[in-house]
Amino acid sequence: MLDQTQIERHEAEAVTCVKLRQPLYAARKKIFPKRASGRFRQFKWLVMAVTLGIYYLTPWLRWNRGAFAPDQAVLLDLANRRFYFFFIEIWPQQFYYVAGLLMMAGIGLFMVTSTVGRAWCGYTCPQTVWVDLFLVIERALEGDSSARIKLDAARWTARKLFVRGAKHAIWLIIAAATGGAWIFYFADAPKLLGAVLTGAAAPAAYVTIAVLTGTTYLFGGLMREQVCTYMCPWPRIQAAMLDENSLTVTYNDWRGEPRSRHAKKALASGKAVGDCVDCNACMAVCPMGIDIRDGQQLECITCALCIDACDGVMDKLGRARGLVSYATLADYNANMALATAGGTGAINPALIRSSSTTFVNAIAGFHLRKIFRLRSFIYLGAWSAIGLVLLFSLLTRERLALTVLHDRNPQFVTLSDGSIQNGYTVKLVNMIAAPRTIMLSLEGLAGAEMSVVGVDLPAGRSFAIPVAPDRLTMLKVFVRQPANQVSKPAQSFAFRIGDEASSESAEYTASFNAPEITR
């Protein structure tokens, strides 16, 4: 029996009590990221131009495939169930190429994340790119950080109304262009553009544009960092892929602390002083509204803008760059141990510095060897293996195929001369966007001949069949064998197809059925 008096009790307010009742969600803190400049900002502009360029321009690229296939370089032709990607044409049954690409994308993400951290989030994620684009508009119209804060706090005037209205209008135009570009991947872009503008396009096109316009405006303009922090599963998944040897954006407090706004005064009074001057430049540029100096955080998308901001300040102060830098946890821990004498005391700048501007040699720093380790190469190996298998399969794949369905009802028919007839449905698949003539012939089955429904020729062992470009041709074929040649109730033979022009061929093994006893 449990002794009630032995249970330790804590005083705690009930979370449901009336006086404590509070909203379930934290209100959004408004973020007005300042414009950053530096190496990483330059690189991000470049990535933005490339990714947006790919997204908007790809459907307009042309690729000549001849008269019997569309000339759009990248086209997901859902109506005709074909996927075109430059020189590659994929039929629905070859969807494993897409599955393979998705696997490569997944493993590629593991590879990137395990080495350079959440680079996907920081540089190439559409959410990041579009938020960046929307911020460009916002800065152009409302000014940089401090001007926007002032405008946000100001009373509604005609100017504020105009500026805000213009901003949202341009955002909506970009959002509509984003939604509009999406549909061009699914139909001939120039024709569809005309149809969309004249109102002649399918309702699905308009619905798609409307939905994607809405989500782009909502996610890129209004919700921004909340999408990453609250909606997206990637931060959790990617965080699980990081280990102590992955690069992440790190505040190196082993050289920054103790931070001081008045370094000279503090130094004069004999206090230890780190490199951080507590200027908050790193916080001002952060699009996620966090302070990188608090350490690793789920919200951090590693966009590296705080590195740019801090490097600029360090340059002005004449100190070494890299107070905020890409660093691995292992390096950080080693340097931290050095700065705190193995964790025995507070951070002591004297332990890591050889002079006021240089560091001791024992400081661990970036090296490619640390980043590319066994794990990265295993990912690279798996990624390349899938890629090579896909490539090999793509280069050697059959563009001519046949399948044969044996009639099951009836399995065989006895003809008036006693010979046995079997019916087959033969499907010839011509995956080339050109018409051709295929030779269909029988292999094996002694004495047998066939006739093709719709082909007005006497029975024989070989027929020339014209097939349409990029299509499946279905034939009804009857094969008959004289009674005295029937050797057993189920004989194996093959249908063979061949294209003399390209010397391609294919074979399908089928069965020929006969009654147990024949005369």
Partner: protein
């Protein structure tokens, strides 16, 4: 209902429900939830006005939007019929031979005729059209009344030995039980069986041939190849409608079974009969 009970710790009233001393707090529902709930009620009420809903004595309320699932089906069927219209019009125009030699039209007719066959013909001719004893196999190349498309069409339209159709295929084999001696029947059966297979007693063949020439050749032909004008079967081939072998042949000589097929022309209409003809013709035995 018991008097209101206030929870000590939180200061919130409880619902009065108690389980082993644990009480349920009577917290109000979130406002968004309550509003959503009222909206669904309003929605449901509006729905019953807009769509057929309220049961009356003989029917139900029609709904102001005039929706009817029966109309939906009607429209879908009409759309399907319209989609077929191009082919059906061509089938009405053309003869069965023309349809069979046009690839696209033949594919359509085979599919449509196959569906008609599954409903109207499988009862006798079996699902694969392979027939059974007394009911002809339509997959083979042995045709009692002819295997050309037009001949098949004639047979389907007017039937065989179908009394109520004036143009029906008509023939009747007499019963020879009273005409021939049992010995002669054995002889002629042996002769007929020998034309496509082996017999037990070869000595019966020669006299059987004489019996055949005297009694049977008139309809079945001198070489027993049959006569399609009369629906007289070819007795020299490997296909036996009423069973192969001497005893089955003898039974048929004594008291012949005569199959009857109904006339389908009036019942199915010209288009369906044409489709059915092309389907039968495509099964592998068409001439």
């Amino acid at each position: 209902m018991s008097s209101e009970h206030i929870d000590e710790v939180s200061g919130i009233s409880t619902t009065g429900h108690e389980w082993d001393g644990i009480r349920e707090l009577n917290n109000p529902l979130p406002r968004w939830w309550v509003i959503t709930f009222y909206i669904t009620i309003a929605w449901a009420a509006a729905y019953t006005i807009a769509f057929p809903a309220w049961p009356m004595l003989t029917s139900a309320s029609k709904g102001v939007l005039g929706y009817s699932s029966r109309n939906d089906v009607k429209n879908e069927l009409a759309a399907a019929e319209a989609a077929k219209g191009k082919y059906v019009a061509a089938i009405q125009q053309k003869t069965v031979s023309e349809i069979a030699s046009d690839n696209a039209l033949r594919e359509f007719a085979v599919a449509a005729g196959g569906a008609t066959f599954k409903v109207n013909c499988v009862q006798c001719h079996v699902s694969g059209a392979q027939g059974s004893k007394g009911f002809p196999n339509l997959n083979d190349d042995d045709w009692l009344w002819g295997g050309k498309a037009e001949q098949i069409q004639q047979t389907i339209t007017h039937g065989i030995r179908f009394g109520s159709d004036a143009d029906t295929r008509q023939s009747e084999m007499p019963a020879f039980a009273d005409v021939l001696e049992p010995e002669q029947i054995a002889q002629v059966s042996a002769y007929v069986a020998s034309l496509s297979g082996s017999v037990r007693d070869k000595t019966l063949i020669q006299p059987g041939a004489e019996v055949f020439a005297d009694n049977c050749a008139g309809c079945h032909g001198e070489s027993a190849k049959g006569n399609r004008e009369l629906g007289a079967p070819d007795l020299s081939d490997a296909i036996w409608l009423h069973g192969s072998g001497e005893s089955a042949i003898a039974a048929q000589v004594r008291a012949p079974k005569q199959g009857v097929m109904p006339a389908w022309g009036a019942r199915l209409g010209d288009t369906k009969v044409k489709e059915l003809t092309v389907y039968i013709h495509s099964l592998g035995g068409g001439e």
